[in-house]
Structures are given as C-alpha cells and as structure tokens.
C-alpha cells in the first residue's frame, strides 16, 4: 500500500470517529442539561461553554454565548475547522483518494454521509434538528464502522484504518473525560450534589455510550471513581482507554509483526504505553487526574507521530 494513501486512510478513520464523539457530546449534554438537577448545570451558558471546551475552543467565564451560534458553529459551520461538517468532509476527502482500495459499499456509505451533513439545512438544524442531526451522525458512523469491518480485507489497510479509529477514540474519550471533569468541578455547591457523586458522571458515561454497561458492571449509581475506572481502565468496556490501547496494539502487530527488540518502532512505543495502563490502580490516576490527562494525550500524540515517520513517510 502506498504510504500517502495509508496516511489518508489513517486520517479517514480518525475523522469518522471524531465526528461521532462530537455529535454525541452535543446531543447528550444539551438534552441532559434540560432537566439537570441544579441551576448551575441547567444553565445554557454552562452547557455551551462545556461544548466549546470539548471541541478545543474554550471561552472564558465572562463571555456571553449565543445558543444558536455555538450549536451552528460546532455542527455545520464551514469556516470552523472542528465542526462536524468539516470532520465529515475531511473523512470523505481522505476516502476519495483511496477509493480504489476501499469497497464500493464503504465508499457509498461515506459519500451518503457527506451529502447528508453537507445538505443539512441551517434553519432546520437550529429550529428542531439538533437531535435528528446528531443522532443521524452517530448512527452513520456506526454504519461506517460496520462497513469497514464487514466489507474490507482484514489486512494492513484495515489495520491502518483501525489504528486511526482507536487512537482517535482514546483521544476523544480523554477530551470528554477532561470536559466533564471540569464540569463536575464547576457544578459543585448546590444541595448535596458534591463532586464525587455529581450528575455529570452520568452524562459523561452517556457521552461515551457506556452508561448502561457501567450500571450492569457496578450495580450502583456512578460516582467519580467508578466512572473513571470504567472509562479508563476496564478493558472490556469498548470505549475505555484500555480497550483502545489494546486495539491499537493488536493492529500495530499486523503492520509490524516482527518480534525483534526494536525500541525505535511504533509497536514498541504502543506496547510500552499499553503496559503502563494495563497494571494501574484507578486510585493512582485519581490523585491527579489533570496530570493523567496530559500524559495520556501526550502518549497518543507520540504514537501518531511515530506512525507517521515509520509508515507514512513519503
């Protein structure tokens, strides 16, 4: 496979995954805030600020936000590079350049997705389309993952796409944890809704589509430590950081099956990062969540850079 095309497919995977997380974040936060337990977490400004923080455009406490503007910006704005629209556009551009390698079924699904997002009417979106739009985006990304798994050869091309998907998934889950962690801190103070058992943990789990399974696993209302443990360390939770690292490890071994000791390889780095979290207590992480977030984001970006120089160098 051409190095350039491999790079494009890697990013196709990343953009598909990214658009899903942004869409779900928008949906869950907006709708759960409507009947949130306290005045602070019900506040529009609070929710909008949280959304902007998540997509990497944080604004200060003193800025007054317009709901329509923020929703449009994150959903459909052609001029905002992190908007869902632009993510989908990038996914399709990358798919386009590798059209000969991916299946017709996958390409058609991406193309349909692109036209759906591109043609979504601004007025309809702002008036009553937020739910419809975000749910559809999330569903279409599911379809795409199904097509990736179900119609492509499970070879190095597949491994590269799934490396992209999983690195992006881990990154987005961290960003979501980071955002909701901030929200839980900020929403403290009103009647009994302390940080540890904040309503925001439930929202966080829903953002990661992991609420029901978390309840099944712990059989208790989510609190900070169980939520973090589930989303970071539980390898059986398909959205956890641990699970993503395991997947990345599995796929890098397809690209680089050598067993020789080579500390400069991507596979070595992935193994190292994975081993670190495989044997960690959540209590260690909980002592300094901010530090953990910085470190893991750093490691993920190191892995991505390493991949670039090892496989995508053209």
């Amino acid at each position: 496979m051409l190095a350039r095309v491999a790079n494009n497919l890697y990013w196709m995977g990343r953009y598909i995954e990214r658009s899903e997380h942004i869409a779900r974040f928008l949906n869950v936060n907006y709708f759960s805030s409507l009947d949130a337990p306290n005045a602070r977490s019900q506040d529009r400004q609070f929710v909008l600020r949280s959304m902007l923080f998540m997509v990497g455009e944080p604004v200060g406490e003193d800025v007054v936000l317009e709901e329509d503007e923020v929703l449009y910006k994150i959903g459909l704005d052609a001029d905002f590079i992190f908007s869902i629209r632009n993510n989908v556009k990038q996914a399709r551009e990358n798919a386009n350049s590798a059209r000969d390698l991916i299946s017709t079924e996958l390409y058609e699904a991406i193309n349909k997705f692109y036209h759906f997002v591109l043609n979504y009417d601004r007025e309809a979106f702002l008036k009553n389309g937020l739910h419809d739009f975000t749910v559809n985006v999330a569903e279409m990304t599911s379809v795409l993952r199904g097509k990736i798994r179900g119609t492509l050869l499970h070879d190095s091309l597949y491994a590269i796409i799934l490396m992209g998907v999983n690195i992006e998934r881990a990154t987005q889950i961290i960003r979501i944890i980071n955002t909701k962690y901030q929200d839980a801190m900020n929403a403290q103070g009103s009647y009994g809704d302390k940080f540890g058992n904040s309503f925001e943990w439930t929202t966080l789990l829903k953002c990661a589509e992991s609420y029901d399974m978390m309840r099944r696993f712990y059989k208790k209302t989510p609190i900070s430590i169980t939520t973090l443990e589930f989303l970071i360390l539980n390898p059986n939770c398909p959205r956890s950081i641990m699970n993503s690292l395991n997947q990345v490890y599995r796929h890098i071994k397809v690209l680089d099956p050598s067993k020789a000791y080579n500390k400069n390889s991507t596979a070595f780095l992935v193994g190292k990062v994975r081993a670190e979290y495989q044997y960690k207590y959540i209590e260690e992480i909980e002592q300094d969540v901010q530090l953990f977030i910085e470190q893991i984001l750093n490691s993920l970006s190191e892995i991505s850079k390493k991949m670039e120089s090892e496989f995508f160098n053209y």
Partner: protein
Amino acid sequence: MFSSYQLNHDLYDEIFEDHGKIKEVYKKLFDIYGEHSIRDYVNLNEKAKSSFFNQGITFQVYDKEKTHEKIFPFDLFPRIIDPKEWKIIEKGSVQRSKALNLFLWDIYHDKNIIKQGIIPMELISSSANYLDQMNGIDPAGGIYNHISGTDIIKHNDGKYYVLEDNIRCPSGVSYVICNRTALKRALFGVFNHYKACSVTNYAENLLDLLETVKPNGVDIPNVVVITPGMYNSAFYEHSYLAKTMGVELVEGRDLFVENDFVYMKTIRGPEKVDIIYRRVDDAYLDPLEFNPNSTLGVPGLFAAYKKGNVTLANAPGTGVADDKAVYTYMPEIIKYYLGEEPILNNVHTYHCSRPNELKYVLDHIQDLVIKPVDEAGGYGISIGNRLGKDEISLVKKQLQANPRKYVAQPIMSLSVHPTYIDKSESFEQRHVDLRTFTVLGKDKEFVLKGGLTRVALQKGNLIVNSSQGGGSKDTWVLKK
C-alpha cells in the same frame, strides 16, 4: 409515453423507420417502456440520478465561489446495436487501432510512409504532439496505443463514420459500466427480454493485455494506474480502473526513479513498478524531459522508459496520430500498413493547409464544420450553418491566418435517438454518437462489447461532449 414524440423525417432515428414504424430490435423495449406512465419514468429518472450521486460518480464544476458536484447526465432509454452491425464496428475499430499503431512505429522509426510520399512530411513535423524524444525507441511488444477510443456516428445514409480517433488518454469507459449498473437498478425487468453483452469484463481484459507488454526480464509485472489526482475530472474513472484491476492508483509524488528503475513509496518502503497505465498527459509525465514545471509527473520516468525498464500505456507521443489532420489520411494509412480497405468510413476532409482546398472551404463555410486539428473536448469547433455573418468573417480570418491549424468537413447529420428530457418531461429526438474502446496487447486485442453512447441534450446540438452539456446512454450489443 411516446404519444408526444415528434419524428423529424430529415433525421435518421435509431428506433423508428422512415414511415414511423418501430425497428424490430426495439419493439419489445418499446412495449415495455410503454407500460410505464411518464410519471413512473420521472420517478425512475430521479432514482437513477441519486444512484449516481451516492456512488460519487460526479465531476466538479467551478463557479464564482463554490465548487459543485454534478453527475454526468444519464438517459434511461438504452441504445441497442444488433450483432451484425456490431461486428462491423468492432472489426473497424480494431483495424483502425492496429493501423495507427503501425503508423506510430513507422514515424518514430524509418518513416517509410513519408519517404514513399503517402503522407507529407509537414503533417508530422508541424505537429505539436510529435515527440522527438520517441525517435528510435522500441516500446515493449511494439505497442503504442494500448487503449484507443474511437468516436463513431451514424449518418443519415444509415452508415457508420468515424469522426475521431482518441489514442492519448481516452476516457469514458467507467461510464459505460456505471450506465449499465444504473439501468439494471432502475429497470431490471427489461434484461429478461434482451441478451445484452456484459461490459464488466473491461478491467480484467485491460490488465491481461497490459501484462503482455511487460518490460523484458520481468516475471510477474507490477501494474499501477497514475492519475493527476483526486481533483481531476476523470478521477472517478482512474480509481474505478485501479480498483477493478486490483492495482495501486498512484500520483506522481508516490513514484521515484533510481538507476533508471521506477519505484513507488509504500508503507514497507520502495516497491518496483513495471507497467504504468498513465492518465497524465505527455507534457506532465516527466519534468526532466517535458514540461519542467510539472508537479504531476515523475522526474526520470522517461529515462527509465527509454531503457525499457518500465512500460507506459499509452506510449508518449501517440498524440501525433490522433491529430485531426492525420485523420484525413486514415484510409491511406490503413491500406498502406494492412493492405486492407477501411471497414469504417472516414468523413471527407478538406485540409486548409492546401491552397485549393482552403479556397473551397472559404467559399462553402455554411455547409462545413471547421475544426482545429489539435483540440479535444469539442472546443473551437464552428458549425457553418449556425454562424452569423460576423462570425463567418471571423472564422475566415482565423483560417487564413493559420490554415495548418484547421480542417473542414461536411456537416454530418448524427443519428437521433429518443431521449428523456427533464424540462419537458417527455421523450424527444436527440443526436447521439458512440465511443468504442479497443485495447491492444502483444498479439492480442480486445474491444469492449458496448461503448459509450453520448447524447447532446440541447435540442439540435451536434456536439455530444460532456464538457458541452452532453449526457450518455447505456448501450447494448445484443448477443447473437
């Protein structure tokens, strides 16, 4: 559905005979279509359009601010060619391709055809597409024009004429296949009544024939398709061909040349490339040899080609032979190299470079089509009976200023075919042509049984090119 169909008896209609009777081969189809109401048809037409759109079979149109994606208009009423007529078209296409190939070999080697005075030296020496660099090079298997697209029309005398040979990078074959897919999706029932030859075998035959012209010393050749990139209007076709042949689709920047061998940059390092089906024009192939500003090409590619280490299909420099001035000598070229009479007719052509013919052209502009010899895509064509007084004098001035640049032909009346017209929601007569696709390999050839029927969607328009608002039809060659 055809109640409002207006039959103009001056035109040759592909499905109706002179007195309005339907031709035998179209009868069943006509009955089946007749069972649908025009409403059904409007719906099917919309469905077919969205099928193309979702498949991403589109081209980009640029206007002031935005780029738009458009589909190449597709008509749901297929064209049928009966086996007897097809046999002539197929044989004729192969004959022309072979003759052109021998002609290319000759003019890049001994130039016997010129020495014997059959065609004039100026024809070659004044051609912008003649590449001196190709002199004396022996392409693998002796093949220059591996892929040829032959544009054929039916005149109102009911005979087929070739309007043009395309042997640089002829495009359109992917539409042949997409049109079939779209028609099957929309009106699958009709295929129970007709046995049309399959068109999906193009890619495997192309790969098969390309592999016959592998460089010496290569066992299993590594084939790639090179494209100018995803913003090229034919990118869909490039990716389609690479996908169906199961080979890599590369851009110039994916390749490099070392010690006169060509390599592509893969995730596991360099991999040697042996055969390149190139969809990049001559001028952009290699900045060291041709246009130095090209970023689409591969520095050193031509040197590797010259050494015989890589095959280029089509060979560089083929453009000299699909020149519209060379076209006029096709009957002589066929006779000279093959010792055969041309199977397909050539349209009589006046060379403006010859003073007496130029005079005739200037006196009869109203009855002629004036064409620049070296333009593609239907650009620069003037149709005499459509010109106003001022335009005629402008054309005359251009002809006198640069006679070598132009040829003239009688206005051919392309046959017409019932075509669904969106605006009026009815069937109307529209002019059609046919592009066949011929592949030459070493001692082997293949003609796609079908071809691209292009249709001029503007009423009365004779130019069918997609760049001029043309659409296309599925084309059935019936099995015997």
